[in-house]
Amino acid sequence: MRLLLASLVAAAACESGPAPAPVRLQAGSLAGEAILAVVPAHDLRINARVPPAIELAAGGLVRLARGRVSMDSSYFLEPPWDVRPPGIPIRGALRVSFCRADESVCRSVMLPVDLQE
């Protein structure tokens, strides 16, 4: 699991927009299942108390809440992930709460996402 998630971090399968995004959504596979993971920039921590969610344009929600968290459950220690719902286009907005370690504040971001197989 950790190797997979680490590989997701290392991979550069996603192209981001003109400005560097604080996080990116990546697709991968785990034990034959397709998964989605949210990969933060190297200096960011993703808030685990309100895990990332994809608000689907067609309606519905995909929460990405699996993954090890810090002792106080504040942050994910690895990219939060979950199994990709089969047969559903992952199109909509990814909402993530994250914190920069050097700022001591939380902030949130919304990214348009459009994953196609």
Partner: protein, 187 residues
């Protein structure tokens, strides 16, 4: 599986304001041409730890510290002990602490739920009034960008200090806020 991941543009809800960022803190003194601006009134209707909605005009003659926070924010909850300490030490001297609980996520995350806020208040020992700012109206009126943020209002209802960022009892930022509170109480 081929991945087409299009991050078309990222929309960040907040960006660095014209504030100094030192030691992880975003703190600055707010004055406009030497004249502090009046604090905007708020009209939140859902309050906890208050028998009735608290209004700014009721607080003239008291120093008011607003804390914009949300219980899912670790930076916020780790700062709560400092705020509880301020409340304990300075309420009788004229400080009113008010939490403005502003959700970060839509209602599906549970941050809008009054019961969840009440549980968080109990969990963290918060006894000072807290408003639910579920529509972010007060957040917007004060042009807040970060969790947690702080606004210190003087006895005349004017914003004197604004800042953001976690701090802890006894640390330099705590002492700075305490010094500001004491200065305004003494005016």
């Amino acid at each position: 599986m081929r991945i087409l991941c299009s991050a078309l543009a990222w929309i960040i809800s907040i960006s660095l304001p014209g504030a100094s960022a030192a030691h992880g803190q975003l703190v600055h003194t707010t004055t406009t041409a030497g004249v502090p601006r009046p604090a905007p009134a708020w009209d939140n209707t859902s309050w906890l730890n208050a028998e009735a909605p608290v209004r700014l005009d009721q607080l003239r003659g008291r120093v008011v510290l607003l804390n914009f926070w949300v219980f899912t924010c670790g930076n916020c909850t780790r700062t709560v002990p400092s705020l509880v300490e301020f409340d304990s030490r300075y309420r009788r001297e004229g400080l009113t602490l008010i939490g403005i609980h502003t959700p970060e996520f839509p209602p599906y995350a549970g941050e809008h739920d009054r019961n969840n806020v009440a549980k968080a208040l109990a969990r963290h020992g918060i006894t000072y009034p807290n408003a639910q700012d579920n529509d972010r109206r007060t957040w917007d009126r004060y042009a807040i960008r970060y969790w947690p943020s702080f606004v210190l209002i003087d006895k005349r209802g004017r914003i004197r200090y604004e800042g953001a960022g976690e701090f802890h009892v006894g640390d330099p930022t705590y002492r700075a806020w305490e010094q500001r509170i004491r200065a305004l109480l003494a005016e």
